[in-house]
């Protein structure tokens, strides 16, 4: 791979950049410089700070401390410096045509005949990256397949757009592309870097990273833990660098002692669970875990004739979106799941409601003086406890949890772990999606998801961060 001389000034330089969201240190002092010709493979586990780093580089987030400098001198914004990002979540306007989408990001397209210019540039951009793509520049984006949309987005990222793309950040660009198209993209990245451009490449396919990257940066807990030429890494070494060195075993074995009952659940993709079992769903975020849970949950509960006692309950991780009823009191938030069971002739039995609340307040340790206070008066962790109380107070035998510990403090986590073990010992089944390995290690059995399918099933002593990482990342060669 040709590299430009070492003397070329860097396109962007981060010096000790940090980004904090409240108490969460998403990025914890990263120094990184990207020069023309660099192709940087960025790897890390969930929450390692990859997306935050990308957003700091492209100017989407201002660092809490440290500096981000763009060259050439005088470029104030990342856009001016020729830095473009292609995001994992699709960021095209679906109601516009392919060529019109180029207009959104290319303000230089003006004048009476801008459409013709946009069509030409878009067609050229697509032809350069994906020869033989077969996408019409006049097609509305919502008529394209997901892969085609991703191709358009990548092509727009590399398109000249009146200047020159100098650094293109690709966040999981191949996740929805098939092998042949992905190969075209990787070839283009190599060509682009050889001609003096730079690329930051994020992927869960380690084969792809090794194919294109000249340098690999490993992020962990918001820090750069390793930064070396790609040739100096082995695959196993890379996985080891991403994970913790010594997983804590805690008191987990004791939990796994009890025997499980009969199988209570089996989904088409191969997920199954037995009574009294804690089943974990793991893997990189966004690889179909939440969707699998939603399918299972809605499949079991959303029908016209709801039984009085639902067969499953749900604990939301995204509290504001699918958990908390913000205008209601703590009491009402917690007991809404049991109302049908404690109703008398269709009316709420206030005394029983208060009794259930008092019991769960004690068992789960919700810190409040008065359960009639509004739910938003509680801290995030305590709100989450109320959601747990809501789910566990219902008698449903299966509890579905969608990353329920998001933004929950350590103390609360320990409380909740204990309670989950307790309930599982009592015969309840838990389906637990988590992005944190520590939580997954609490489970009896773990399914690792990759690209919307189960890539591994781990049990007992096999549940280690290392094994999960191995299954989360594609280890085979790209393009096979």
């Amino acid at each position: 791979m040709t590299r430009t001389p070492q003397g070329a000034p860097p396109i962007v330089t981060l010096t000790d950049a940090a980004k904090h969201f409240g108490p969460v240190r998403a990025l914890n002092g990263v120094s990184l410089s990207i020069a023309p010709g660099d192709c940087i493979g960025l790897v890390g586990h969930n929450g390692a700070g990859k997306s935050t780093l990308v957003n700091v580089i492209n100017g989407g987030l201002a660092p809490s401390s440290g500096t981000v400098e763009f060259a050439p001198a005088g470029a104030q914004t990342a856009l001016e410096a020729g830095i473009r990002s292609v995001f994992q979540e699709l960021s095209l306007c679906p109601n516009l045509t392919v060529a019109e989408n180029l207009r959104i990001s290319h303000t230089g397209l003006r004048g009476f005949n801008w459409r013709k210019a946009a069509r030409t540039e878009m067609a050229q951009a697509l032809d350069t990256v994906f020869p033989g793509h077969g996408i019409s520049t006049d097609a509305p984006v919502d008529t394209l397949s997901i892969a085609e949309r991703q191709m358009v987005e990548i092509a727009i990222g590399f398109a000249p757009r009146g200047a020159q793309a100098r650094l293109v950040i690709l966040d999981e660009p191949t996740s929805s592309l098939d092998a042949g198209i992905a190969r075209q993209l990787l070839d283009h990245i190599v060509r682009f870097c050889a001609s003096g451009g730079a690329v930051v490449f994020i992927s869960h396919m380690l084969g792809e990273i090794f194919d294109v990257a000249t340098r690999i940066v490993v992020l962990k807990d918001g820090r750069v833990v390793e930064q070396r030429a790609a040739a100096d890494f082995t695959r196993q070494g890379l996985v080891d660098a991403m994970g913790h060195v010594a997983p804590e075993q805690a008191d987990a074995p004791a939990v796994r002692a009890h025997a499980h009952g009969a199988e209570v659940l089996r989904s088409p993709e191969g997920l199954n669970a037995r009574a009294g079992e804690i089943v974990g769903l793991s893997g990189l975020a966004g690889h179909g875990q939440a969707e699998a849970l939603a399918r299972i949950y809605f499949g079991a509960t959303s029908s016209w004739r709801t039984p009085r006692a639902a067969p499953m309950v749900f604990v939301a991780g995204d509290r504001t979106r699918d958990g908390v009823l913000p205008l209601w009191s703590i009491l009402r938030n917690a007991t809404i799941s049991v109302l049908p069971q404690i109703a008398r002739r269709g009316f709420v039995d206030r005394d029983r409601e208060a009794g259930i609340m008092a019991e769960w307040k004690r068992r789960i340790g919700i810190r409040t003086d008065d359960v009639a206070n509004p739910i938003l008066s509680l801290s995030g962790g305590n709100q989450q406890k109320v959601l747990f109380a809501r789910a566990l107070a219902a008698s449903a035998p299966i509890v579905v949890m969608d990353d329920p510990m998001r933004g929950v403090d350590v103390g609360t986590k320990q409380d909740v772990y204990a309670m989950i073990r307790d309930e599982a010992a009592g015969g309840r089944t838990f389906l637990w999606y988590s992005t944190e390995t520590e939580e997954v290690c609490q489970c009896d059995r773990v399914f690792v998801f990759r690209d919307g399918a189960i890539s591994a099933e781990l049990t007992g002593a096999d549940i280690t961060e290392e094994k999960i990482l191995e299954a989360s990342f594609e280890m085979t060669e790209a393009g096979q």
């Binding site: 989407g60 914004t77 856009l79 990002s85 960021s91 095209l92 306007c93 679906p94 109601n95 516009l96 019109e100 989408n101 207009r103 959104i104 990001s105 303000t107 397209l109 003006r110 801008w114 459409r115």
Partner: protein, 310 residues
Amino acid sequence: MIRLFTRYRILLPVVSLALLLGATFYMQPRAMSYFGLNLLFNLAVPIALATLAQMMIIMVNDIDLSLGAFVSLVACVTATWLNDAPLVGLLILLVLVLAYAAMGAVIHMLDLPAIVVTLGMSFVWGGIALFLLPSPGGVSPDWLRALMTIKPPFVPMAVAAAVLIAALTHLLIMRSGIGTVLRGVGGNARSVGRAGWPVVRLKALAYGLAGLFGVLAGMALVGLTTSADANIALRYTLLSVAGVILGGGEFTGGKISPVGAVIGALTLALAASFLSFLRLSPDWQVGAQGAILILVLTARLLFTRRDAQA
């Protein structure tokens, strides 16, 4: 066949209008004339302009519940100030357009629900209108009256105006660069913002355009009716929403069609005349108009569902 309808969304509104027009001509062959067409579509011109105003708002994923009150207010201003002191009148209308733009900016900056803000503003517009013109009256400026009753050769004014308005808005919204970006705001505001566009200014522009078309609608209405009333156009709020949807637009996602919206407005105006030709009692007309609307929307839903299955 189904493919064709989902591929070219404009077909369904066109076919609806053609069917309704055919039925009207069948019921009342005398309507098939220069004079008859003008009568049928006369009141469609202000409705078409109001529909386009509503379309500008729906284009950026909002909805405007104050449009009817706003058009009424403009009508009152036109029949009083614009007639008595044209310069002051123009100035007032300009301020009204700017007020709309400011409303858009505020809605975006404070992240307020447009449906609530516009509902509140409808009472403000209504109050000012009553203040200007406590009882029905006022006089249309002569030039406006002349403009709205002009008799071009071959095609009646109403049809010519509808075609002209549709063509101009199509150029502005569907063909021009800025129109494309405005539609992009409806499609994916975040990515538009990420590409470096000031979304708040774009929203203000969309609302400002809505204000402009609202002003034109009010003026056209006074040109036709020759006088005004503080409640003259209250039903335009819902008519305009119906027109946009009838014309192939959607409530979210920036999917709109100016030509479709004008056709939708014409269809709504024609539906009223058609029901009179059926000698339907006026008591039933509003309901029957709703039934036509439901019919067309059902057809559209069926087409998209079938296409999704295929």
